[in-house]
Protein backbone atom coordinates (compact mmCIF):
# COMPACT_ATOMS: atom_id res chain seq x y z
CA UNK A 1 0.00 0.00 0.00
CA UNK A 2 2.83 2.42 0.66
CA UNK A 3 4.43 3.98 -2.40
CA UNK A 4 7.62 5.72 -3.40
CA UNK A 5 7.30 9.50 -3.60
CA UNK A 6 9.49 11.44 -5.95
CA UNK A 7 9.58 15.24 -5.92
CA UNK A 8 11.35 16.78 -8.90
CA UNK A 9 12.31 20.44 -9.24
CA UNK A 10 9.26 21.67 -7.30
CA UNK A 11 8.92 25.44 -7.51
CA UNK A 12 6.11 27.61 -6.16
CA UNK A 13 5.75 31.33 -6.66
CA UNK A 14 2.77 32.56 -4.62
CA UNK A 15 2.35 35.88 -6.38
CA UNK A 16 4.08 36.77 -9.60
CA UNK A 17 7.03 39.03 -8.92
CA UNK A 18 7.58 37.84 -5.36
CA UNK A 19 10.44 35.55 -4.38
CA UNK A 20 9.59 31.86 -4.79
CA UNK A 21 8.43 30.14 -1.60
CA UNK A 22 10.05 26.99 -2.94
CA UNK A 23 12.75 26.90 -5.59
CA UNK A 24 13.63 23.76 -7.53
CA UNK A 25 13.11 21.31 -4.67
CA UNK A 26 14.06 17.71 -5.45
CA UNK A 27 13.66 14.82 -3.01
CA UNK A 28 13.22 11.06 -3.09
CA UNK A 29 11.12 9.37 -0.44
CA UNK A 30 11.53 5.60 -0.86
CA UNK A 31 8.50 3.39 -0.17
CA UNK A 32 8.10 2.65 3.51
CA UNK A 33 10.65 5.23 4.62
CA UNK A 34 10.21 8.36 6.69
CA UNK A 35 11.88 11.48 5.38
CA UNK A 36 11.86 14.74 7.31
CA UNK A 37 12.01 18.17 5.74
CA UNK A 38 13.79 20.32 8.28
CA UNK A 39 13.84 24.08 8.15
CA UNK A 40 13.18 27.29 10.07
CA UNK A 41 9.75 28.92 9.78
CA UNK A 42 9.26 30.58 6.43
CA UNK A 43 11.75 28.25 4.74
CA UNK A 44 9.06 26.81 2.45
CA UNK A 45 8.76 23.46 4.16
CA UNK A 46 4.97 23.57 4.50
CA UNK A 47 4.81 24.50 0.82
CA UNK A 48 6.50 21.16 0.05
CA UNK A 49 3.63 19.34 1.75
CA UNK A 50 0.88 21.46 0.19
CA UNK A 51 2.31 20.88 -3.30
CA UNK A 52 2.71 17.17 -2.60
CA UNK A 53 -0.88 16.90 -1.34
CA UNK A 54 -2.18 18.85 -4.32
CA UNK A 55 -3.59 21.65 -2.14
CA UNK A 56 -1.55 24.10 -4.20
CA UNK A 57 -0.33 23.83 -7.79
CA UNK A 58 3.42 23.94 -8.36
CA UNK A 59 4.66 26.75 -10.63
CA UNK A 60 7.16 24.25 -11.99
CA UNK A 61 8.31 20.72 -11.25
CA UNK A 62 6.49 17.48 -10.62
CA UNK A 63 5.25 15.15 -7.92
CA UNK A 64 5.47 11.45 -8.81
CA UNK A 65 4.03 8.53 -6.92
CA UNK A 66 5.53 5.18 -7.91
CA UNK A 67 6.66 6.90 -11.10
CA UNK A 68 3.24 8.31 -12.02
CA UNK A 69 3.08 12.09 -12.46
CA UNK A 70 0.33 13.54 -10.26
CA UNK A 71 -0.03 16.85 -12.13
CA UNK A 72 -3.71 17.76 -12.35
CA UNK A 73 -4.76 15.02 -9.91
CA UNK A 74 -6.98 16.61 -7.21
CA UNK A 75 -5.99 16.13 -3.54
CA UNK A 76 -8.70 13.54 -2.89
CA UNK A 77 -7.44 11.24 -5.65
CA UNK A 78 -3.77 11.31 -4.66
CA UNK A 79 -4.04 8.80 -1.84
CA UNK A 80 -2.23 11.03 0.62
CA UNK A 81 -3.51 11.87 4.06
CA UNK A 82 -2.16 14.81 5.98
CA UNK A 83 -1.97 15.64 9.67
CA UNK A 84 -1.58 19.35 10.37
CA UNK A 85 -0.13 21.09 13.39
CA UNK A 86 -3.71 21.89 14.45
CA UNK A 87 -5.70 18.68 14.81
CA UNK A 88 -8.61 20.07 12.71
CA UNK A 89 -11.04 17.45 13.99
CA UNK A 90 -14.43 18.12 12.43
CA UNK A 91 -16.34 19.64 15.35
CA UNK A 92 -19.72 18.44 14.14
CA UNK A 93 -18.67 14.78 14.14
CA UNK A 94 -17.93 12.37 16.97
CA UNK A 95 -14.42 11.03 17.41
CA UNK A 96 -15.45 7.80 15.70
CA UNK A 97 -17.05 9.55 12.73
CA UNK A 98 -13.96 11.71 12.34
CA UNK A 99 -11.86 8.58 11.97
CA UNK A 100 -14.48 7.01 9.71
CA UNK A 101 -14.56 10.10 7.47
CA UNK A 102 -12.28 8.81 4.71
CA UNK A 103 -14.21 5.54 4.47
CA UNK A 104 -17.53 7.38 4.42
CA UNK A 105 -16.56 9.67 1.56
CA UNK A 106 -15.27 6.60 -0.24
CA UNK A 107 -18.73 5.06 0.01
CA UNK A 108 -18.04 2.42 2.67
CA UNK A 109 -21.30 1.63 4.54
CA UNK A 110 -21.58 3.49 7.82
CA UNK A 111 -21.42 0.41 10.00
CA UNK A 112 -18.33 -1.00 8.38
CA UNK A 113 -16.63 2.41 8.42
CA UNK A 114 -17.30 2.75 12.13
CA UNK A 115 -15.96 -0.69 12.88
CA UNK A 116 -12.78 0.13 11.06
CA UNK A 117 -12.60 3.47 12.87
CA UNK A 118 -12.63 1.58 16.17
CA UNK A 119 -9.65 -0.49 15.02
CA UNK A 120 -7.67 2.63 14.22
CA UNK A 121 -8.67 4.27 17.48
CA UNK A 122 -7.26 1.18 19.16
CA UNK A 123 -4.03 1.61 17.21
CA UNK A 124 -3.55 5.08 18.70
CA UNK A 125 -4.57 3.79 22.14
CA UNK A 126 -7.89 5.60 22.19
CA UNK A 127 -10.22 2.61 22.10
CA UNK A 128 -13.49 3.53 23.79
CA UNK A 129 -13.27 7.23 22.95
CA UNK A 130 -15.34 6.90 19.78
CA UNK A 131 -18.61 8.25 21.15
CA UNK A 132 -17.11 11.47 22.48
CA UNK A 133 -17.64 14.71 20.66
CA UNK A 134 -14.45 15.83 18.95
CA UNK A 135 -14.28 18.85 21.21
CA UNK A 136 -14.15 16.85 24.43
CA UNK A 137 -10.51 15.78 24.03
CA UNK A 138 -7.18 17.05 25.31
CA UNK A 139 -4.55 18.36 22.88
CA UNK A 140 -2.59 15.11 22.80
CA UNK A 141 -5.74 13.02 22.33
CA UNK A 142 -6.90 15.31 19.52
CA UNK A 143 -3.66 14.82 17.66
CA UNK A 144 -3.88 11.05 18.13
CA UNK A 145 -7.37 11.06 16.64
CA UNK A 146 -6.08 13.18 13.75
CA UNK A 147 -3.37 10.57 13.21
CA UNK A 148 -5.87 7.71 13.41
CA UNK A 149 -8.12 9.52 10.94
CA UNK A 150 -5.22 9.94 8.49
CA UNK A 151 -4.12 6.30 8.88
CA UNK A 152 -7.67 5.04 8.43
CA UNK A 153 -7.60 6.60 4.97
CA UNK A 154 -4.88 4.00 4.21
CA UNK A 155 -2.78 6.63 2.46
CA UNK A 156 -0.02 5.65 0.08
CA UNK A 157 1.94 8.53 1.59
CA UNK A 158 1.32 10.03 5.03
CA UNK A 159 2.09 13.74 5.21
CA UNK A 160 2.82 15.24 8.63
CA UNK A 161 3.02 19.04 8.94
CA UNK A 162 4.65 19.75 12.31
CA UNK A 163 2.01 17.52 13.88
CA UNK A 164 3.49 17.48 17.36
CA UNK A 165 4.88 21.02 17.69
CA UNK A 166 1.93 22.26 19.74
CA UNK A 167 2.33 19.47 22.32
CA UNK A 168 4.45 19.64 25.46
CA UNK A 169 7.74 17.74 25.67
CA UNK A 170 6.45 14.61 27.42
CA UNK A 171 3.45 14.26 25.09
CA UNK A 172 5.67 14.83 22.09
CA UNK A 173 8.01 12.01 23.12
CA UNK A 174 4.96 9.78 23.60
CA UNK A 175 3.72 10.65 20.11
CA UNK A 176 7.17 9.92 18.67
CA UNK A 177 7.08 6.44 20.22
CA UNK A 178 3.55 5.92 18.92
CA UNK A 179 4.54 6.93 15.40
CA UNK A 180 7.62 4.68 15.48
CA UNK A 181 5.36 1.84 16.61
CA UNK A 182 2.85 2.56 13.83
CA UNK A 183 5.66 2.57 11.27
CA UNK A 184 6.67 -0.92 12.34
CA UNK A 185 3.11 -2.19 12.06
CA UNK A 186 1.81 -0.41 8.97
CA UNK A 187 4.99 0.46 7.05
CA UNK A 188 3.65 3.70 5.60
CA UNK A 189 5.68 6.11 3.48
CA UNK A 190 5.95 9.26 5.59
CA UNK A 191 6.95 12.77 4.61
CA UNK A 192 7.35 14.86 7.75
CA UNK A 193 7.92 18.58 8.09
CA UNK A 194 9.46 19.98 11.25
CA UNK A 195 11.67 22.76 12.57
CA UNK A 196 13.04 20.56 15.35
CA UNK A 197 16.23 18.54 14.59
CA UNK A 198 15.49 16.31 17.59
CA UNK A 199 12.09 15.40 16.14
CA UNK A 200 13.62 14.67 12.74
CA UNK A 201 16.23 12.56 14.51
CA UNK A 202 13.60 10.65 16.47
CA UNK A 203 11.35 9.87 13.50
CA UNK A 204 13.12 10.06 10.18
CA UNK A 205 15.47 7.81 8.24
CA UNK A 206 16.71 10.75 6.21
CA UNK A 207 16.49 14.51 6.42
CA UNK A 208 16.30 17.27 3.84
CA UNK A 209 17.28 20.70 5.08
CA UNK A 210 15.43 23.61 3.52
CA UNK A 211 16.31 27.26 3.86
CA UNK A 212 14.97 30.24 1.94
CA UNK A 213 12.96 27.92 -0.31
CA UNK A 214 16.02 25.96 -1.43
CA UNK A 215 17.22 22.49 -0.58
CA UNK A 216 20.49 22.86 1.30
CA UNK A 217 21.40 19.24 1.85
CA UNK A 218 19.78 15.83 2.07
CA UNK A 219 20.88 12.62 3.66
CA UNK A 220 20.91 10.72 6.93
CA UNK A 221 20.94 13.13 9.84
CA UNK A 222 24.24 11.78 11.17
CA UNK A 223 25.88 12.71 7.90
CA UNK A 224 24.40 16.20 8.07
CA UNK A 225 25.72 16.66 11.58
CA UNK A 226 29.18 15.46 10.57
CA UNK A 227 29.40 17.14 7.17
CA UNK A 228 27.05 20.14 6.88
CA UNK A 229 27.02 21.52 3.35
CA UNK A 230 26.35 25.13 4.31
CA UNK A 231 26.34 27.58 7.18
CA UNK A 232 22.54 27.36 7.19
CA UNK A 233 22.61 23.61 7.74
CA UNK A 234 25.28 23.90 10.39
CA UNK A 235 23.34 26.58 12.24
CA UNK A 236 20.00 24.77 11.99
CA UNK A 237 21.58 21.68 13.54
CA UNK A 238 22.95 23.69 16.45
CA UNK A 239 26.51 24.34 15.21
CA UNK A 240 27.96 27.60 16.50
CA UNK A 241 31.65 27.48 15.79
CA UNK A 242 32.26 29.33 12.52
CA UNK A 243 35.83 30.31 11.66
CA UNK A 244 36.33 32.18 8.38
CA UNK A 245 39.58 31.53 6.54
CA UNK A 246 41.14 30.33 3.31
CA UNK A 247 41.74 26.86 1.91
CA UNK A 248 44.93 26.04 0.02
CA UNK A 249 46.18 22.55 -0.82
CA UNK A 250 43.81 20.86 1.66
CA UNK A 251 44.77 23.16 4.55
CA UNK A 252 42.42 25.72 6.11
CA UNK A 253 44.23 28.80 7.38
CA UNK A 254 42.50 31.14 9.83
CA UNK A 255 42.83 32.80 13.23
CA UNK A 256 43.19 29.24 14.55
CA UNK A 257 46.27 28.72 12.41
CA UNK A 258 46.72 26.19 9.62
CA UNK A 259 44.53 23.11 10.04
CA UNK A 260 44.73 20.12 7.69
CA UNK A 261 41.39 18.98 6.24
CA UNK A 262 40.30 15.36 5.96
CA UNK A 263 39.59 15.34 2.24
CA UNK A 264 40.19 17.34 -0.93
CA UNK A 265 38.60 20.79 -0.81
CA UNK A 266 38.92 23.33 -3.65
CA UNK A 267 41.10 26.32 -2.89
CA UNK A 268 39.52 29.64 -1.93
CA UNK A 269 37.75 31.27 1.01
CA UNK A 270 35.85 28.91 3.30
CA UNK A 271 34.37 28.79 6.77
CA UNK A 272 35.53 26.07 9.13
CA UNK A 273 32.71 24.55 11.19
CA UNK A 274 33.23 22.02 13.97
CA UNK A 275 30.56 20.42 16.11
CA UNK A 276 31.00 21.07 19.84
CA UNK A 277 30.63 17.34 20.64
CA UNK A 278 33.72 16.58 18.53
CA UNK A 279 36.01 19.12 20.21
CA UNK A 280 38.13 17.75 23.05
CA UNK A 281 39.28 20.03 25.86
CA UNK A 282 42.77 19.43 27.31
CA UNK A 283 45.39 21.28 29.32
CA UNK A 284 46.84 24.39 27.68
CA UNK A 285 50.29 22.82 27.50
CA UNK A 286 49.12 19.57 25.87
CA UNK A 287 51.24 19.04 22.73
CA UNK A 288 48.21 17.37 21.06
CA UNK A 289 46.19 20.61 21.31
CA UNK A 290 45.55 22.27 17.97
CA UNK A 291 44.77 25.66 19.52
CA UNK A 292 44.85 27.26 22.94
CA UNK A 293 42.47 29.83 24.37
CA UNK A 294 40.48 30.97 27.38
CA UNK A 295 37.04 29.86 28.56
CA UNK A 296 34.84 32.97 28.35
CA UNK A 297 31.40 31.49 28.94
CA UNK A 298 29.86 28.32 30.27
CA UNK A 299 26.44 27.17 29.09
CA UNK A 300 24.76 24.46 31.11
CA UNK A 301 22.98 21.72 29.18
CA UNK A 302 21.76 19.13 31.66
CA UNK A 303 24.63 16.96 32.85
CA UNK A 304 27.01 18.29 30.26
CA UNK A 305 28.30 21.82 29.95
CA UNK A 306 29.14 23.71 26.80
CA UNK A 307 32.10 26.10 26.99
CA UNK A 308 32.89 28.97 24.67
CA UNK A 309 36.63 29.27 24.24
CA UNK A 310 38.07 32.54 22.99
CA UNK A 311 41.15 32.02 20.84
CA UNK A 312 43.45 35.08 20.85
CA UNK A 313 43.96 36.77 17.54
CA UNK A 314 43.20 39.95 15.61
CA UNK A 315 39.50 39.14 15.12
CA UNK A 316 38.74 37.20 18.31
CA UNK A 317 37.56 33.78 17.24
CA UNK A 318 35.36 31.62 19.47
CA UNK A 319 35.18 27.83 19.46
CA UNK A 320 32.52 25.88 21.32
CA UNK A 321 33.26 22.60 23.00
CA UNK A 322 31.15 20.14 24.95
CA UNK A 323 32.62 18.86 28.17
CA UNK A 324 32.36 15.27 29.32
CA UNK A 325 29.50 14.49 31.68
CA UNK A 326 30.17 15.90 35.13
CA UNK A 327 33.28 17.84 34.03
CA UNK A 328 33.43 21.47 35.17
CA UNK A 329 35.50 24.42 33.94
CA UNK A 330 35.20 27.98 35.28
CA UNK A 331 35.27 31.00 33.02
CA UNK A 332 38.74 32.49 32.72
CA UNK A 333 40.56 29.15 32.71
CA UNK A 334 43.11 28.74 29.88
CA UNK A 335 42.60 25.49 27.93
CA UNK A 336 43.89 23.60 24.93
CA UNK A 337 41.50 22.31 22.26
CA UNK A 338 41.82 19.24 20.07
CA UNK A 339 39.94 19.52 16.78
CA UNK A 340 40.02 15.97 15.35
CA UNK A 341 40.85 15.99 11.65
CA UNK A 342 37.71 14.03 10.79
CA UNK A 343 35.49 16.66 12.48
CA UNK A 344 36.80 19.59 10.46
CA UNK A 345 34.36 20.70 7.76
CA UNK A 346 34.70 23.67 5.48
CA UNK A 347 31.58 25.32 4.06
CA UNK A 348 31.32 28.21 1.62
CA UNK A 349 31.19 31.65 3.26
CA UNK A 350 27.72 33.22 3.49
CA UNK A 351 27.48 35.24 0.29
CA UNK A 352 25.10 38.06 -0.49
CA UNK A 353 22.50 35.34 -1.18
CA UNK A 354 21.82 33.12 1.82
CA UNK A 355 21.63 30.04 -0.38
CA UNK A 356 24.90 28.32 -1.18
CA UNK A 357 26.18 28.00 -4.68
CA UNK A 358 25.22 24.43 -5.63
CA UNK A 359 28.51 23.95 -7.46
CA UNK A 360 30.44 24.78 -4.32
CA UNK A 361 28.28 22.85 -1.88
CA UNK A 362 29.98 19.66 -3.07
CA UNK A 363 33.20 20.59 -1.33
CA UNK A 364 32.01 19.50 2.07
CA UNK A 365 31.70 15.94 0.93
CA UNK A 366 35.42 15.79 0.26
Amino acid sequence: MSAALDLEGLTRVHASGSAPALDGFTLDVPAGSCVAVLGPSGSGKSTVLRLTAGLDEPTAGSVRLDGRDLAGVPPERRGMAMVFQRPLLFPHLSVRDNVAFADRVRGVPRRRARERAEEYLGLVQLAGYGDRPARALSGGQEQRVALARALAAEPRVLLLDEPFSALDTALRAEMHDLLADLRLRLDPTVLLVTHDPAEADALADAVAVLDGGRLQQAGPLGELYARPASLAVSRLLGGRTEVPGTVRDGVHTSALGPLALPGPVPDGPGVLVVRPEAVRVTAPGDPAADVTGTVVRVRRRGLRALVVVQVPGPVGTAVEAELAAGEELPAGRPVGLVLPVGARTVVPPAGPASAPDPARSAISHG
Binding site: A53, G54, A81, F90, H92, A102
Partner: protein, 254 residues
Protein backbone atom coordinates in the same frame (compact mmCIF):
# COMPACT_ATOMS: atom_id res chain seq x y z
CA UNK B 1 -26.70 44.50 45.04
CA UNK B 2 -27.31 48.18 45.65
CA UNK B 3 -30.92 49.35 45.70
CA UNK B 4 -30.16 51.81 42.90
CA UNK B 5 -28.89 49.08 40.63
CA UNK B 6 -31.88 46.91 41.37
CA UNK B 7 -34.33 49.74 40.66
CA UNK B 8 -32.48 50.57 37.46
CA UNK B 9 -32.68 46.99 36.25
CA UNK B 10 -36.34 46.76 37.13
CA UNK B 11 -36.94 49.94 35.13
CA UNK B 12 -35.12 48.47 32.14
CA UNK B 13 -37.17 45.27 32.32
CA UNK B 14 -40.37 47.33 32.48
CA UNK B 15 -39.17 49.38 29.49
CA UNK B 16 -38.71 46.21 27.42
CA UNK B 17 -41.90 44.45 28.54
CA UNK B 18 -44.47 47.20 29.08
CA UNK B 19 -45.39 47.79 25.42
CA UNK B 20 -46.18 44.11 24.99
CA UNK B 21 -48.55 43.88 27.99
CA UNK B 22 -51.52 45.62 26.30
CA UNK B 23 -51.21 43.19 23.40
CA UNK B 24 -51.55 40.20 25.71
CA UNK B 25 -54.42 41.71 27.74
CA UNK B 26 -56.38 42.97 24.75
CA UNK B 27 -55.93 39.72 22.84
CA UNK B 28 -57.91 37.89 25.50
CA UNK B 29 -60.46 40.62 26.19
CA UNK B 30 -64.06 40.35 25.02
CA UNK B 31 -65.07 43.55 26.75
CA UNK B 32 -62.79 46.17 28.30
CA UNK B 33 -64.25 49.63 28.66
CA UNK B 34 -62.45 52.53 30.29
CA UNK B 35 -61.67 53.22 33.07
CA UNK B 36 -61.45 49.55 34.12
CA UNK B 37 -57.91 48.46 34.90
CA UNK B 38 -58.44 44.95 33.54
CA UNK B 39 -60.88 43.56 30.96
CA UNK B 40 -64.39 42.99 32.28
CA UNK B 41 -64.94 39.92 30.12
CA UNK B 42 -62.31 37.49 28.85
CA UNK B 43 -62.80 35.50 25.66
CA UNK B 44 -61.81 34.81 22.09
CA UNK B 45 -63.76 37.54 20.30
CA UNK B 46 -60.54 39.12 19.09
CA UNK B 47 -59.36 35.84 17.63
CA UNK B 48 -62.71 35.35 15.90
CA UNK B 49 -62.59 38.84 14.40
CA UNK B 50 -59.02 38.32 13.27
CA UNK B 51 -59.83 35.05 11.56
CA UNK B 52 -62.86 36.66 9.93
CA UNK B 53 -60.66 39.41 8.56
CA UNK B 54 -58.59 36.75 6.72
CA UNK B 55 -55.75 36.19 9.18
CA UNK B 56 -55.41 32.54 8.13
CA UNK B 57 -54.61 33.11 4.46
CA UNK B 58 -52.67 36.27 5.29
CA UNK B 59 -50.32 34.45 7.66
CA UNK B 60 -49.93 31.70 5.09
CA UNK B 61 -48.95 34.33 2.53
CA UNK B 62 -46.51 35.93 4.96
CA UNK B 63 -44.98 32.54 5.72
CA UNK B 64 -44.50 31.74 2.04
CA UNK B 65 -43.08 35.21 1.40
CA UNK B 66 -40.63 34.83 4.30
CA UNK B 67 -39.59 31.36 3.17
CA UNK B 68 -39.08 32.43 -0.45
CA UNK B 69 -37.00 35.43 0.61
CA UNK B 70 -34.94 33.23 2.96
CA UNK B 71 -34.50 30.56 0.28
CA UNK B 72 -33.17 33.19 -2.15
CA UNK B 73 -31.19 35.51 0.10
CA UNK B 74 -29.44 32.85 2.22
CA UNK B 75 -27.53 31.00 -0.52
CA UNK B 76 -26.79 34.21 -2.42
CA UNK B 77 -25.55 35.89 0.76
CA UNK B 78 -23.52 32.81 1.69
CA UNK B 79 -21.81 32.77 -1.69
CA UNK B 80 -21.10 36.50 -1.63
CA UNK B 81 -20.00 36.29 2.01
CA UNK B 82 -17.60 33.49 1.19
CA UNK B 83 -16.07 35.44 -1.68
CA UNK B 84 -15.81 38.63 0.38
CA UNK B 85 -14.24 36.84 3.35
CA UNK B 86 -11.22 36.22 1.14
CA UNK B 87 -9.24 38.72 -0.86
CA UNK B 88 -10.20 37.44 -4.29
CA UNK B 89 -12.92 39.94 -5.15
CA UNK B 90 -11.58 42.93 -7.08
CA UNK B 91 -12.51 46.19 -5.33
CA UNK B 92 -13.91 44.11 -2.45
CA UNK B 93 -14.63 47.18 -0.33
CA UNK B 94 -16.73 48.78 -3.04
CA UNK B 95 -18.57 45.50 -3.70
CA UNK B 96 -19.37 45.14 -0.01
CA UNK B 97 -20.58 48.74 0.13
CA UNK B 98 -22.84 48.10 -2.86
CA UNK B 99 -24.25 44.97 -1.22
CA UNK B 100 -24.91 46.95 1.98
CA UNK B 101 -26.57 49.86 0.17
CA UNK B 102 -30.12 48.52 0.70
CA UNK B 103 -29.54 49.07 4.44
CA UNK B 104 -28.88 52.74 3.83
CA UNK B 105 -31.57 53.54 1.31
CA UNK B 106 -35.09 53.88 2.73
CA UNK B 107 -37.18 50.90 1.57
CA UNK B 108 -40.09 53.15 0.63
CA UNK B 109 -37.81 55.20 -1.64
CA UNK B 110 -36.52 52.09 -3.42
CA UNK B 111 -40.06 50.74 -3.70
CA UNK B 112 -41.42 54.03 -5.09
CA UNK B 113 -38.60 54.30 -7.60
CA UNK B 114 -38.92 50.74 -8.79
CA UNK B 115 -42.69 50.53 -8.72
CA UNK B 116 -43.08 52.65 -11.84
CA UNK B 117 -40.46 50.62 -13.64
CA UNK B 118 -42.00 47.29 -12.64
CA UNK B 119 -45.40 48.50 -13.85
CA UNK B 120 -43.92 49.51 -17.20
CA UNK B 121 -42.11 46.18 -17.55
CA UNK B 122 -45.34 44.34 -16.55
CA UNK B 123 -43.56 42.40 -13.82
CA UNK B 124 -46.18 40.64 -11.65
CA UNK B 125 -46.61 42.37 -8.29
CA UNK B 126 -45.64 39.32 -6.24
CA UNK B 127 -42.42 38.83 -8.22
CA UNK B 128 -41.58 42.49 -7.65
CA UNK B 129 -42.19 42.17 -3.91
CA UNK B 130 -39.99 39.07 -3.68
CA UNK B 131 -37.24 40.77 -5.69
CA UNK B 132 -37.21 43.88 -3.51
CA UNK B 133 -37.36 41.98 -0.23
CA UNK B 134 -34.59 39.61 -1.32
CA UNK B 135 -32.46 42.64 -2.09
CA UNK B 136 -33.40 44.08 1.30
CA UNK B 137 -32.40 40.83 3.04
CA UNK B 138 -29.08 40.36 1.20
CA UNK B 139 -27.09 42.82 3.34
CA UNK B 140 -27.92 40.82 6.47
CA UNK B 141 -27.16 37.41 5.01
CA UNK B 142 -23.99 38.63 3.30
CA UNK B 143 -22.54 40.28 6.40
CA UNK B 144 -23.42 37.35 8.64
CA UNK B 145 -21.95 34.76 6.30
CA UNK B 146 -18.88 36.89 5.58
CA UNK B 147 -18.14 36.98 9.31
CA UNK B 148 -18.75 33.25 9.58
CA UNK B 149 -16.49 32.44 6.65
CA UNK B 150 -13.78 34.76 7.94
CA UNK B 151 -13.76 32.82 11.22
CA UNK B 152 -13.93 29.47 9.43
CA UNK B 153 -10.64 27.64 9.02
CA UNK B 154 -10.21 26.37 5.42
CA UNK B 155 -7.82 23.79 6.88
CA UNK B 156 -10.83 21.62 7.69
CA UNK B 157 -11.75 21.31 4.01
CA UNK B 158 -8.13 20.73 3.06
CA UNK B 159 -7.99 17.95 5.62
CA UNK B 160 -11.16 16.45 4.12
CA UNK B 161 -9.65 16.69 0.64
CA UNK B 162 -6.50 14.84 1.65
CA UNK B 163 -8.74 12.20 3.24
CA UNK B 164 -10.37 11.58 -0.13
CA UNK B 165 -13.36 13.93 -0.22
CA UNK B 166 -14.06 15.72 -3.51
CA UNK B 167 -14.29 19.52 -3.38
CA UNK B 168 -18.07 19.25 -3.51
CA UNK B 169 -18.17 16.60 -0.82
CA UNK B 170 -15.85 18.66 1.39
CA UNK B 171 -18.29 21.57 1.18
CA UNK B 172 -21.33 19.39 1.87
CA UNK B 173 -19.86 17.16 4.57
CA UNK B 174 -17.57 19.61 6.35
CA UNK B 175 -18.06 23.27 5.47
CA UNK B 176 -21.85 23.48 5.56
CA UNK B 177 -22.33 21.49 8.81
CA UNK B 178 -19.71 23.64 10.51
CA UNK B 179 -21.39 26.80 9.25
CA UNK B 180 -24.92 25.55 10.00
CA UNK B 181 -25.48 27.92 12.95
CA UNK B 182 -24.50 30.94 10.85
CA UNK B 183 -26.64 29.73 7.94
CA UNK B 184 -29.60 29.27 10.28
CA UNK B 185 -29.10 32.78 11.63
CA UNK B 186 -28.88 34.26 8.14
CA UNK B 187 -31.98 32.37 6.99
CA UNK B 188 -33.85 33.55 10.10
CA UNK B 189 -33.04 37.20 9.43
CA UNK B 190 -34.01 36.84 5.77
CA UNK B 191 -37.26 35.14 6.76
CA UNK B 192 -37.95 38.02 9.14
CA UNK B 193 -37.49 40.56 6.34
CA UNK B 194 -40.15 38.83 4.24
CA UNK B 195 -42.44 37.94 7.12
CA UNK B 196 -42.64 41.38 8.68
CA UNK B 197 -42.41 43.70 5.67
CA UNK B 198 -45.14 46.25 5.31
CA UNK B 199 -44.18 49.19 3.13
CA UNK B 200 -42.75 47.27 0.16
CA UNK B 201 -45.73 44.92 0.06
CA UNK B 202 -48.03 47.92 0.30
CA UNK B 203 -46.38 49.95 -2.48
CA UNK B 204 -45.27 47.27 -4.93
CA UNK B 205 -47.89 44.65 -4.13
CA UNK B 206 -50.56 47.16 -5.04
CA UNK B 207 -53.03 45.73 -2.53
CA UNK B 208 -53.22 42.33 -4.21
CA UNK B 209 -50.78 40.66 -1.87
CA UNK B 210 -52.52 40.86 1.53
CA UNK B 211 -50.00 39.69 4.12
CA UNK B 212 -50.33 39.66 7.89
CA UNK B 213 -48.66 43.07 8.37
CA UNK B 214 -51.18 44.62 5.96
CA UNK B 215 -54.02 43.26 8.10
CA UNK B 216 -52.36 44.57 11.27
CA UNK B 217 -51.99 48.03 9.75
CA UNK B 218 -55.53 48.21 8.45
CA UNK B 219 -56.94 47.02 11.77
CA UNK B 220 -54.75 49.37 13.80
CA UNK B 221 -55.66 52.42 11.76
CA UNK B 222 -59.32 52.15 12.70
CA UNK B 223 -60.68 52.40 16.23
CA UNK B 224 -62.81 50.16 18.39
CA UNK B 225 -61.24 46.85 17.40
CA UNK B 226 -58.38 46.70 19.90
CA UNK B 227 -58.83 42.98 20.54
CA UNK B 228 -58.50 42.15 16.85
CA UNK B 229 -55.38 44.37 16.55
CA UNK B 230 -53.87 42.63 19.55
CA UNK B 231 -54.54 39.13 18.21
CA UNK B 232 -53.16 39.97 14.77
CA UNK B 233 -50.10 41.58 16.35
CA UNK B 234 -49.40 38.61 18.57
CA UNK B 235 -49.95 36.38 15.56
CA UNK B 236 -47.16 38.14 13.73
CA UNK B 237 -44.79 38.10 16.71
CA UNK B 238 -45.13 34.57 18.02
CA UNK B 239 -43.99 32.51 14.97
CA UNK B 240 -40.65 34.31 14.54
CA UNK B 241 -40.22 34.32 18.32
CA UNK B 242 -40.67 30.56 18.39
CA UNK B 243 -38.19 30.27 15.51
CA UNK B 244 -35.68 32.43 17.37
CA UNK B 245 -35.94 30.31 20.49
CA UNK B 246 -35.61 27.15 18.40
CA UNK B 247 -32.54 28.49 16.58
CA UNK B 248 -31.06 29.60 19.90
CA UNK B 249 -31.59 26.18 21.49
CA UNK B 250 -30.14 24.50 18.42
CA UNK B 251 -27.09 26.76 18.63
CA UNK B 252 -26.61 25.96 22.33
CA UNK B 253 -26.84 22.22 21.77
CA UNK B 254 -24.07 22.26 19.19
Amino acid sequence: MALGTRLGRAALAVWLLLPLVPLVLWAAADRWTAPAVLPQAWGTAGLRDAVDSGAGTASLRSTVLGLVVAALATPLGAMAGRALAGSGVPAGGAVLAALLSPLVLPPFAVALGLDVLLLRLRVPASVGVVLLLTVAALPYTTVLMRTAYAAHDPGFEEEARTLGATARRAVLAVQLPMLAPALAGAAFLAFLVGWSDYVVTLLVGGGQLVTLPLLVASAASSVGNEAQVAVLSLGSVLPPLALLVAVGLLGRRR
